[in-house]
Amino acid sequence: MAVSVTAALAFGQNEQLTVASGGKVVAKRGETAVATVRITVKPGFHINSNTPNEEYLIPLRLTWEPKPLVMESIKFPTPKQDKFEFSEKPLSVYEGEFVIETKFKVPADAPTGMGLASGKLRYQACSNTACYPPKTVPVSIPLDIR
């Protein structure tokens, strides 16, 4: 329950998007905490959502290391349905800036003090006429476990 976002920290950069943590998460043992990851897709590009509506498309994925926090659920924002030059029907995508929320369980025996929640974001970006190979970028969120 105890969640505190105290600062924004940029920690990831790639060609088609940038990733930043929503800031340090203050979490209490035995409770839950919500961490946010802020993604900015560069103008002229889009990335597939976590639920692309074509089988061949690579979905957006956020995964976390099992320690020190245990991931309970991930909440992606509602994707856009956009049509592109190469698509017969609208595709489920993200453009511009959006936030992914992760709800963590803080184990009762989690080590107290400062730490990091580490994860990976896998995405695949396209422009209106070309696509870029899927990329995986590291994601980390500073933690203060009490």
């Binding site: 190469f86 422009s127 006429t129 696509c131 190979p133 899927p134």
Partner: protein
């Protein structure tokens, strides 16, 4: 009236220039073409394929992947080109860049009924071709194995077809190329 004719003339001149410029941009002049880097890649049957085997043919060397939407649009065009121009010394070579390899590419080939040869790409080969940062990236090779043109991203079917026809020597302009008297005599005598 004379001013109108002058404007019309200028307009025609501009439009002619534009057409010429577009065509010139599509394919490099022969003198400026560089040899396409050689490679040795496996096809879907496991056979090793060298690019040098295609010397003498016009080749559309298409880097693609199953997850690439624009690539999916082009595949039926390439199937059509392979069917229509194969007998004139033309071939499409697909280079799949899927990390998962044949397990995902082979079913896709079957599903799309791809009639041209598909090879499994590697990063070193992509590097030889400038890194191939985005897909589709298609190199148009002339009969000497030289790079006559490059298309990055989705372009129109007619752009590809113009390149192919031009390189196969099907354009009217190429039908009136000077011919040596000796060649003409051989043709007439059937030798």
């Amino acid at each position: 009236m004379s001013r109108f004719l002058l404007c019309l003339g200028a307009l025609l001149l501009v439009s002619t220039s534009c057409t010429t410029t577009t065509e010139a941009r599509a394919l490099k002049p022969e003198a400026g073409r560089k040899q396409a880097p050689g490679f040795d890649l496996k096809d879907s049957t496991g056979k090793a394929v060298k690019l040098s085997e295609y010397k003498g043919k016009v080749v559309l060397l298409n880097f693609w992947a199953t997850w690439c939407g624009p690539c999916k649009v082009e595949i039926p065009w390439f199937i059509d080109f392979e069917t229509r121009y194969k007998d004139q010394g033309f071939a499409v070579l697909g280079v799949a860049m899927d990390d998962e390899g044949w397990s995902i590419v082979k079913p896709y080939i079957d599903q799309k009924k791809i009639n041209y040869r598909v090879l499994m790409g590697t990063d070193p080969v992509a590097q030889l071709y400038g890194g191939v940062e985005s897909l589709p990236t298609t190199f148009v090779l002339d009969r000497d194995g030289k790079i006559a043109g490059v298309h990055i991203g989705l372009v129109s079917k007619s752009e590809y077809e113009n390149d192919i026809k031009q390189l196969l020597g099907q354009k009217k302009a190429n039908w009136f190329q000077p011919i040596r008297l000796g060649d003409l005599a051989s043709m007439l005598l059937g030798r």
